[in-house]
């Protein structure tokens, strides 16, 4: 019997929503880590009961949580109570320290600040956790200020892949309004050495050697809000997505513009087409149709809510350019929520399920690839992230 587990991170805790393969009746578990911001939770593709969560607080900093039983119980990896007298404290699972050794690249000490001056790199939080496709103990973490970390011991310790910050453009990276965050990590299922990441507001980057060296992949992006609209870096990429059967084709929701690349990011072209606005945060791909993609258009960079107060998911079955509004079951008046960049996901049941969460606390799902929608929950805290596990 198949089942679905939806992992929801919110401003005030984590929630786990579960259903059988019919996706009709949902159990809601939570809040876990009540009162803390949960930027992201994700399960390991290699072991669906292994979950990781990024728990953060302006008061207490970053905590990494891990579950080995599908979210029933959680632990801070390597951070358990020290019982034996004289035992050395662990507690390294919360420790994200930028690499400062010249041996691993060219680590930088400053990046560009809002006013153009240089500013020290300061760790703030983990935005995104991406477990390895093959090893439950290996996870990548995208952090603010932008950097990429990896654990290979199940979250007990984290090491920076310093070649990203050190590849040469780091000093010109600049925070967006939400901070300078590394928010997207895509693992190429056909090539374990290839990763894509995206940073606001620097752009997209790719490594082909498992994270040792990196380069920007932003050719074709055009951003009117930066001094050089065609710059190599400085673009506010909000999210990128790929289909595992065709990992060289990338889709991007940029600050403005929906973009597509046919060649693993070497070049991009715009596919905003007939969208009512091409501003937005999320973008995702149908589980079985690599040219079916979803976005949620948002009115503008200064008005983060759907145009006309109508919450509409837009679907393209042609890989972009031609879009249709999906409205059945979604509020079509007086709706002024946002859908944040990590708050959409799909399941892989035969009829692809699509899920997204809003800053108004609703988690909507569609069991028919977006044709119709219904809320699983309506009144959670503001949703920061949604991930879906298909359990078989």
């Amino acid at each position: 019997m198949s089942g679905i587990r939806v992992l929801v991170g919110t401003r005030k805790g984590a929630f786990v929503l579960t259903a059988d393969g019919k996706r009709k009746q949902w159990d809601v578990s939570g809040p876990h880590f009540a009162g803390w911001e949960i930027y992201h939770m994700k399960g390991s593709p290699a072991d669906p009961d292994r979950l990781y969560a990024s728990q953060t607080s302006g008061w207490f900093g970053q905590v990494i949580q891990r579950s080995c039983d599908g979210g029933k119980t959680w632990e801070t990896p390597g951070g358990g109570v020290t019982i034996e007298p004289g035992q050395m404290p662990k507690g390294e699972s919360n420790k994200f320290v930028y690499d400062a050794t010249p041996a691993t690249g060219k680590p930088l000490t400053t990046h560009q600040w809002y006013d153009g001056t240089q500013h020290p790199w300061e760790f703030k939080r983990v935005w995104h956790l991406e477990p390895s496709l093959t090893d439950p103990d290996t996870v990548y973490a995208g952090v603010e200020d932008a950097g990429l970390f990896r654990t290979s011991d199940g979250g007990k310790t984290w090491q920076e892949l310093a070649g990203l910050r050190g590849h040469g453009t780091g000093a010109s990276w600049q925070p967006g309004a939400g901070g300078m965050c590394l928010h997207t990590i895509l693992l190429d299922p056909s090539d374990p050495k290839r990763l894509f990441i995206a940073i606001s507001a620097a752009g997209a980057f790719r490594t082909d050697d498992a994270g040792k060296t990196w380069r920007p992949i932003n050719r074709g992006l055009r951003s009117q809000y930066i001094p050089d609209p065609n710059a190599e870096v400085g673009h506010c990429v909000h999210r990128i997505a790929l289909h595992r059967s065709r990992p060289k084709v990338l889709f991007m929701q940029k600050h403005w513009d929906v973009m597509r690349s046919e060649d693993a990011g070497e070049s991009w072209h715009e596919v905003s087409g007939n969208l009512p606005t091409d501003f937005g945060f999320v973008i995702d791909v149908h589980a079985h149709e690599p040219d079916t993609i979803y976005v949620v258009p948002i009115k503008s960079d200064s008005e983060h809510y759907p145009p006309e107060g109508k919450l509409r998911v837009y679907r393209s079955r042609t890989g972009g350019d031609e879009w249709e509004a999906l409205t059945k079951g979604l509020p079509q008046r007086d709706c002024y929520v946002n859908v944040l960049r990590d708050a959409m996901a799909v399941d892989s049941l035969d009829s692809c399920g699509v899920y997204f969460g809003t800053t108004g606390g609703q988690v909507y799902m569609s069991a028919d690839a977006g044709d119709s929608w219904s809320p699983i929950v309506r009144d959670l805290p503001a949703v920061l992230s949604v991930e879906v596990q298909t359990l078989r």
């Binding site: 009540a34 207490f60 905590v63 951070g79 358990g80 020290t82 404290p89 507690g91």
Partner: protein
Amino acid sequence: MIRVILPVHLRTLAHVGAEVALDVPGQATPRAVLDALETRYPMLRGTIRDHVTQQRRPFLRFFACERDLSHEPVDAPLPDAVASGAEPLLILGAIAGG
């Protein structure tokens, strides 16, 4: 034994009640108490003071015996009443909301 009162969220994280009691070797100072606290409860490392700089996190303060100790030197002795366990050391978070 030194008594320490933690903010609610750190009690949850460490799976403890409102107050913890710690054996602190040597002189009772803020640094010694935090060292003992983090040794006993490693999941609290980084949540009260920065992992690298060891500076108190900006939204937290330390109080004892109706005194604000937040800006005292971390190696200064704590009040006798704290060292003897008569009074707790309070770790407080800034008030949230508005």
